[in-house]
């Protein structure tokens, strides 16, 4: 028989805990039954046995080796079935896939992180990874927007992050309500006057495609270079390995060449925001 492992077969894992983040978003704490590691920004395929699998980028600290958090919005067939689960539930995982965030190239720089809605999930993993070795980075500037205050994830963590040394946090909601006394406006409205050195900064953006489009345009307008803007491309990723074809963006596959790309890599490809 072939010396290669079966790339389509998931390893067994258990949903150990489920945390309700918002009415439509839950964080699943998953314990793999075999050794499993990922680099921040890489994604996994999560299988609900007999029902199907879907790609997610873990939201937990990659330094934690025994469990993986995955923050999931109830948005489709597999995610709605996952939301109906209680712990413990047996699931499967494959991966990790993709290249992840190039942490080495972020060293010595000002790191701007712009999140929209549940897009903060992969960025939380990145933040944990950065916080674990903050001596290597100049500063971390987080800008986070959600539709309403009820749609914000990790609300309990945001104040702690804001208190950290060399970390600057500003949040906003698209639509205000009586319980919210912070900024109101799209996330693009909190991007100007950031305390960063444009020449020595990188920006990492994750959110819905329309948010990433307007954030990117704003960042270019502010003077950030296309090579310094990192975007998480959401595509239909079935295999995760560059074989099934679905996630093609121009000459790339989002799964194996991304899912994080610089705007420099993508800017000449038509219709990237669709």
């Amino acid at each position: 028989m072939s010396p290669h492992k079966n790339i389509y077969k998931p390893i067994e894992a258990t949903i150990e805990n489920i945390i309700e983040e918002t009415p439509t978003i839950k964080t699943f704490v998953i314990k793999p039954r075999e050794h499993f590691e990922f680099r921040t920004g890489q994604f996994i395929e999560l299988t609900l046995p007999g029902a199907g699998e879907a790609p997610f980028t873990p939201s937990s600290d990659p330094n934690i080796k025994d469990t993986i958090d995955v923050t999931i919005m109830n948005a489709g067939r597999v995610t709605s079935m996952l939301h109906a689960c209680s712990s413990p539930t047996t699931v499967g995982i494959r991966g990790p896939y993709g290249k992840g965030y190039p942490l080495d190239t972020f060293e010595g720089k000002d790191i701007v992180i712009v999140g929209g809605g549940v897009g903060l999930a992969p960025l939380r993993s990145l933040l944990f990874a950065l916080f674990s070795r903050m001596d290597r980075y100049n500063k971390v500037v987080l800008r986070y927007g959600a539709r309403t205050s009820k749609d914000m994830v990790y609300k309990h963590l945001l104040p702690d992050w804001a208190k950290k040394d060399k970390v600057d946090v500003v949040t906003t909601v698209d639509v205000g309500d009586p319980s919210w006394n912070g900024n109101v406006g799209l996330v693009t409205t909190i991007l100007k006057d950031m305390p960063v050195d444009l020449k020595n900064a990188v920006v990492i953006v994750c959110g819905p495609p329309v948010m990433m489009k307007f954030v990117t345009l704003k960042l270019l307008d502010l003077g950030f270079a296309p090579k310094d803007i990192y975007l998480s491309m959401e595509k239909n990723m079935s295999c995760g390995l560059g074989k099934c074809g679905h996630c093609r963006i121009g000459r790339f596959y989002a799964c194996k060449d991304g899912p994080v790309f610089t705007y420099e890599e993508l800017k000449d490809i038509p219709e990237i925001w669709d």
Binding site: S2, T47, E234, K235, G245, R251
Partner: protein, 350 residues
Amino acid sequence: MYYIEVSALDNFAQALCKSYAVFSPFAKDPRSPGTDYSYARLSENTPSVFNPYRCIEPLKAFFTHPLQKVAGYFGNDDQAALSEKTVIFGVKACDIAGHKIQDFVFLEGVDVDAAYAFKREQTILIAGDCTDFKDVCHCLAWDILPHPLEGFDLSLSPLNDGFLVEVGSKKGQELIEAHPSYFTPAKESQISVRRVKREGLQERLKRHLFPQNLVPKDSVQALMRQGYNVDTWHQFMLTCVECGGCNFICDTCHCFLLNDKPQGQVNSRLRLWDSCQYANYARVAGGANPLKTRTQRLRFRFTKKFDFFVDNLGMPACCGCGRCIEVCPGKIDIREVLKDVAKKVAAAKT
């Protein structure tokens, strides 16, 4: 180089049936001169047939299947059914060229598809020269000759009363060494006959293709980029019924979707061939769909073949077999689409 007589080839194929699953072409309509050929499992006492041109089915169908179990979880039930040792007769140069894409996808990159690799190891390809062509054949447009030069284990070239046998691999050499009685060393004169026959067919095909005025191979990538917004995509889409036939019959198309279904204690993971012409091909959870229209999807099929693969493999993903032309109920002709793009790109420049 070896020589084998017609009757000896039959006996050789019969002998192979004892230890291999042997597939060989058969004529769908033996009395019709332009008949299609199809692969079938060779049974005892049926003569093997030499097909003058490629079969209907793509070669990929021997290595991946339209619906196939690729894993069981979480038990020990692992690889999809073990494949038996297989010999395939009747493979043509276009099949081999197209199959390079399948090998690239499933054997290279991030990880190897183990079941595919195993099948590939277990399979012996016995290719053959084309001695005729179909109306839709246009391999020469992609610089693929109508006789195989590489990528086969053995290759047969029909002479007047037998076949010249070229060895293309160690597996092919071992197959001959295991059946020495059927083969004799080829003579120089036989090799010259092959050359004359090959040149003759190539010349005929060239004359067939000349009036078609096909786009040059080295222009297609630029055409995809410059022609991204031409109305060709819309015009040719109008007759697309989204059947996916062009993808499924294509020897270079490889897209698939993984699907799961419960099956007792062990769940099955299935792999289904997928088509980029289907409306939900690129749809993501929440409903966003970067390929909403048939126009976008037709263009996606072409940019994959003629831009993506030129970038990633250094060759366009078309072998000129013309299968997609024959299969399309909407009469969408890959040659005509490319020519139309070229025409509109040229018009936009002037």
